[in-house]
C-alpha cells in the first residue's frame, strides 16, 4: 500500500474507465474493487487502526458472515478486505463447520445472509 498521494489523477482516470479495462491486470471479480484495488480509501476515519489493511483484516475476520457482508458496504478499503477469498472462506467455514469451500465463496456467503442475494456485487462477472 505504498501509494499515498501523488497518483490521484491516475486513480481518477482508472475509476472513470470501464471496469473491463482493469480486468486484465486484476483478477478481482468485483468491478468496484478492480478499479481501486491498490488505492487506499481516502479513509476519513480518525483512527490509524482502521487505515491499515492488516489491522482491518484482524478485526473483520472475527465477524460472522452477515456482518462481514455488511462491512463490504462501508467503503472501498473495507470492501477490499472483506472480499478477500480467505476472509470469506473463514467466515463461511466457521458457522457451517465445513472443511473446504469450493466455487465462488462470495455468492454462497451472501446467499446465506438475512434477505435476498445481492449476487451481482459479489459473484464473478462471467
Amino acid at each position: 500500500m505504498g501509494c499515498c498521494g501523488g497518483d490521484e489523477d491516475d486513480d481518477l482516470v482508472k475509476q472513470l474507465l470501464p471496469p473491463d479495462s482493469a480486468h486484465d491486470a486484476d483478477p478481482s471479480p468485483d468491478p468496484f474493487l478492480a478499479s481501486s484495488s491498490e488505492v487506499l480509501s481516502p479513509m476519513n476515519s480518525n483512527f490509524s487502526a482502521l487505515a491499515s489493511k492488516d489491522l482491518l483484516r484482524a478485526i473483520l475476520e472475527l465477524l460472522p458472515p452477515a456482518d462481514l457482508a455488511r462491512s463490504a458496504c462501508v467503503c472501498r478499503l473495507w470492501r477490499a478486505v472483506a472480499s478477500e477469498r480467505e476472509m470469506l472462506e473463514r467466515a463461511f467455514k466457521a458457522p457451517w463447520k465445513v472443511r473446504r469451500v469450493l466455487g465462488c465463496v462470495a455468492a454462497i456467503l451472501l446467499s446465506a445472509s438475512p434477505s435476498g442475494i445481492p449476487s451481482r456485487l459479489w459473484a464473478s462477472s462471467d
Binding site: 475509476q15 468496484f32 480509501s41 481516502p42 479513509m43 476519513n44 476515519s45 480518525n46 483512527f47 490509524s48 487502526a49 482502521l50 491499515s52 492488516d54 489491522l55 484482524a58 478485526i59 473483520l60 472475527l62 465477524l63 460472522p64 456482518d67 457482508a69 455488511r70 462491512s71 458496504c73 462501508v74 467503503c75 472501498r76 473495507w78 445472509s113 438475512p114 434477505s115 435476498g116 445481492p118 451481482r120 456485487l121
Partner: protein, 166 residues
C-alpha cells in the same frame, strides 16, 4: 501512571519507552519481551540497568495508550502464577478492553505496532463485538468513516443489499 519514571530497582535489566508526548515508562525485560517488536529490537541492542535503552515510540501511541499496553505486558509477564492465578488473569484481560472506542482502537493499533499478539486478539475481538449487528451507516458513524463509493456505486449497493442498511 504508577509505572512511570521510577528508579530501576537493583541490577535488573530495564528499558525505557518514551512516548512522543514526552512520558517515559521504565519497564523490566520480561515486560518488554511481551512485545515482539521490542524483543527483536532489544536482542540486537541490549539494555542494562545502569544505562537503559531508551526507545522512542511513534506519535500515534500516546502515553495513555502505552500505559494500557504496559499494564497488559506487566501483568502477563508475571503470568497466572500471581494474584489469583489464571482466572484472575482472564478477568484482568476482560476488564482491560472495557474502553471507549477511541481508546480501544488506539490500543489495537499499539498492540499491532508493538506486536503483542494476545492483546491484539483481545482488542480486535472487542472491536468486532462492538460492530456486530450494526447497520452500514452505524458502522460508518461509529468509526468516522466516510463512504468513498461514487454516488452511482452507493446507489447500486443500497438497492442490492438493502438489508445491510437496515
Amino acid at each position: 501512571m504508577s509505572e512511570g519514571t521510577k528508579e530501576p530497582d537493583g541490577g535488573e535489566e530495564k528499558v525505557v519507552l518514551k512516548t512522543h508526548d514526552g512520558q517515559e515508562f521504565t519497564v523490566d525485560m520480561a515486560t518488554a519481551n511481551q512485545s515482539g517488536t521490542l524483543k527483536n529490537l532489544l536482542s540486537e541492542v541490549g539494555s542494562s540497568s545502569n544505562n537503559p535503552q531508551v526507545i522512542p515510540l511513534p506519535s500515534s501511541i500516546t502515553s495513555r495508550v502505552l500505559g494500557k499496553v504496559v499494564e497488559y505486558c506487566q501483568r502477563h509477564a508475571a503470568g497466572g502464577g500471581r494474584r489469583g492465578g489464571m482466572q484472575a488473569l482472564e478477568q484482568f484481560d476482560e476488564e482491560l478492553v472495557e474502553l471507549d472506542k477511541d481508546m480501544l482502537l488506539d490500543v489495537t493499533y499499539a498492540a499491532a505496532f508493538l506486536d503483542v499478539p494476545r492483546l491484539l486478539d483481545l482488542t480486535s475481538q472487542a472491536v468486532a463485538d462492538a460492530i456486530k449487528n450494526m447497520s452500514v451507516e452505524e458502522v460508518r458513524h461509529y468509526f468516522g468513516v466516510v463512504s468513498d463509493f461514487t454516488e452511482e456505486e452507493e446507489k447500486v449497493i443500497r438497492s442490492e443489499c438493502p438489508w445491510a442498511f437496515e
